[in-house]
Assembly symmetry: C2
Homo-oligomer: 332 residues x 2
């Protein structure tokens, strides 16, 4: 019989049932071939004029702006979700609230190479990418209009138009709903326990080890107890920290190496699936210093989500996280 497991942060019950019929699909996913490009890749070196002017780039000190010879480059997104200029024009519409979609939507072009997954990245290149996230987080929070920042990376996403490795940095005037759920849960947990919910999880998983994939001096990788999705994987700092922007250099170097190893493990177990990787960090305007814990969530795209999830969000996961963690750890 399946189990119902409750996520202690969000108070969310998830069905974990290895006897579900979609189990086999969730255990292996073939990589999609990259879709054909309909023209030159706008993110490749030499095509810098195809993107909006760069915000920042890493390269030789002699390099000129918007020229080639960069290692990492940040530009506004070609099709931004939200725009940086203008007024919010906050207004009611009947009983509803509306504002203009202001925000920063930047892309981090992570490498000059057109096809490269994080599992294949040189560690130093991943370090540069993480440093770029930190830098953008520290810079964008200076703009008082923005309340939160998320980083979204689609690793080898077949649905994406662009296969050139890149990620999205979004600074938003609101807190995305999925982060707000977490923040609320963490605040409630802290009010009851005066401890960080994620710290409790980390403590337990390091002792029990059944869902721990790997740990380093600074981080732990684990399959969460109430995983919504097959092979859902969290990467958390061992020591309590709410703000990714304040990560130290030693931790960052360790993180780059661990992210690469984690993506290699996911790739070996599942055959290089598309993954969505999201950086969860505390909002700028109400820092949850004590009760929130920044982390990376990695969700491989395996089987289609069971239909019960839509709207009602009844999550059903055919791969117990203990099994996912063991399969991943075997690949080390």
């Amino acid at each position: 019989m399946g189990e119902l497991r409750r996520d202690p942060v969000r108070n969310r019950w998830v069905v974990i049932d290895p006897e579900r019929p979609d189990r086999e699909a969730a255990l292996k996913v073939e990589a999609q071939p990259p879709p054909p490009l309909s023209g030159p890749c706008p993110l490749c070196p030499g095509n810098e004029a195809m993107t909006p002017p760069e915000i920042i780039a890493f390269g030789e000190s002699s390099r000129q702006r918007n020229q080639t010879d960069w290692s990492v480059r940040v530009t506004p997104d070609l099709q931004p979700l939200c725009r940086i200029e203008g007024d919010f024009d906050r207004r009611p519409e009947g009983p509803f609230d509306v504002m203009n979609a202001l925000g920063a939507h930047e892309i981090v072009i992570e490498s000059p190479q057109h096809l490269l997954t994080w599992a294949e990245f040189p560690e130093q290149q991943l370090e540069r990418v993480l440093r770029t996230y930190r830098m953008r987080s520290l810079d964008l929070r200076l703009d008082g209009r923005f309340r939160s920042l998320i980083v979204v990376k689609n690793n080898a996403d077949a649905a994406g138009i662009l296969r050139h490795p890149h990620s999205h940095v979004l600074a938003l005037p609101f807190i995305p709903y999925g982060i707000e759920e977490e923040l609320r849960g963490c605040r409630e947990f802290y009010a009851r326990k005066e401890r960080c919910a994620f710290c409790d999880i980390i403590l337990h998983e390091r002792v029990s080890r059944v869902r721990r994939v790997v740990e380093t001096d600074f981080f732990v990788v684990l399959a969460p107890f109430a995983s919504r999705f097959p092979f859902e994987t969290w990467l958390l700092p061992l020591r309590h920290a709410s703000d990714f922007g304040k990560i130290g250099e030693k931790e960052l170097v360790d993180l780059a190496s661990l992210v690469k190893r984690t993506m290699q493990m996911v790739g070996k177990v599942l055959g290089n699936p598309s993954c969505t990787i999201v950086l969860h960090s505390t909002p700028f305007d109400e820092p949850h210093t004590h009760d929130y814990h920044w982390h990376l969530e990695i969700i491989p795209k395996t089987a289609p989500v069971a239909a019960f999830g839509w709207g009602a969000r009844l999550f059903v996961n055919p791969i117990p996280p203990e099994e996912a963690a063991a399969l991943m750890a075997q690949q080390m």
Copy 2:
């Protein structure tokens, strides 16, 4: 520029932006051909022995149980998410909560005909289906172990193994997370306003009419102000009611006709997409009599959800609900 719109029930911001590049995909979706059956359909008449014994069926009074000649038939699901027998065995696991996945997972076999969408159903047949939902809701609430009931219907779902028209009735020992979010929002709204949030929405939409698709004596169909998905459509009773199980016979007949018309409109606008239809109704054990409003949510599967949604739940919808409502209303 896109707009940020806040759902007043869930306090959830959604990006509505008709200039998104995935707009065209979201405007038309070809119907998927039904996948080939690998054997006889277990839901077709004559194959009653292929399902678990029926719970209830509509048919002639002379009909014998588990024989053919039914018009609607309810059986336990062939691959249930949760089981009806056994103990919860509620237990801690370290800092976590676990229980056995007990619950009722039934399927309503909605017609003897193998391929038929709700848009094609005779109205009387849809009435029988809705009466069946009501009956199961009233029956299953007598089992004190279950806290909530949802009905999930995948209309012409290409991902499903079974194309024979059927829906899932789930009575659960917990409240699905998507419903709990709504209940919490409604409770907070009521605490502030002493009015039902959905009643406020209905009042406004009936006056402004820009997102109202159609209304009858008892119901209204509208495209919600902060639609998460293209052509997201809600069907709500005009008069405040929290519990679908208490729907009257006149309302039920009206609802059947309106559901059919709504599915016809969706089908004409989008070319018969797969749809997920979920019945949201108040939980059994803590009836939200004053602050919750039962309704049906219809979500057509058009373009893939923008990748920003995963985990962070940053919803981006390229079809403004005003436009969706107008396109649907034109098809009447």
